[in-house]
Assembly symmetry: C2
Homo-oligomer: 132 residues x 2
């Protein structure tokens, strides 16, 4: 069961935009798109993004400096994220694979470190781009 978070005004505007776009969006592209709604400064965007990441509504694609809406409806996994990224068309999708997430969540090595969080990014060619 996911905790309900009441998004603030700016958070809602920015989440809706990212969610509707369906693809990773960059901070300044978000800024450009929400200026007509009164959000004028980078910091307003970054603050909303920080919060949305924190509560798991969006994730940051680190290799792309971009943000995508969480695609796992029942997302306990804001701390356990995996993505596939097409290096040709830049399509990104969130991997939802319980075996993978179990394997990684339970992973431990001999370093004595307890892992509480991970982010995995796979790269390759998507079906469409492969067949070109």
């Amino acid at each position: 069961m996911q905790k309900e978070h009441n998004l603030s005004k700016n958070q809602k505007i920015i989440f809706d935009l990212i969610d509707k776009s369906g693809e990773p969006m960059k901070a300044y592209s978000i800024l450009f798109n929400v200026q007509k709604k009164g959000i004028k400064a980078p910091l307003q965007v970054y603050r909303a993004l920080d919060k949305l990441v924190e509560i798991g509504k969006i994730h940051k694609i680190e290799s792309r400096n971009a943000f995508i809406a969480c695609q796992n409806s029942s997302c306990q996994v804001s701390k356990a994220t995996a993505f596939s990224i097409c290096e040709s068309c830049e399509n990104v999708s969130e991997i939802s694979n319980s075996k993978l997430s179990k394997y990684l969540s339970n992973f431990s090595d001999d370093s004595g470190m307890k892992y509480s969080k991970y982010n995995l990014e796979f790269f390759g060619l998507c079906k469409r781009c492969k067949s070109k």
Copy 2:
């Protein structure tokens, strides 16, 4: 067997610096440290970094925008990287675990995508920081 790459002058200066530091270094900190060796501009640093990443001598820690020397002596894994990152002291080390790398290299899902590369970053508290 890893291919020998003859590093160019700038590549060697920058690799040696990163390698000796033993920890992730940021591009502009690298720049500052090599200015006395005649490397004056960001682009000179970024070009060397790009090449060193390409040939697997260093890796980029995406979540930190920093670069660390490869810690796997026999590194075929420039396209299959895993790191553990302490969120308290920011210590980073490269995970060398053949089960993990096999599991991830062979991973496939029903998306029809063939993954040729991955990067995994684990977060948590290292032994030292845990016991504080």
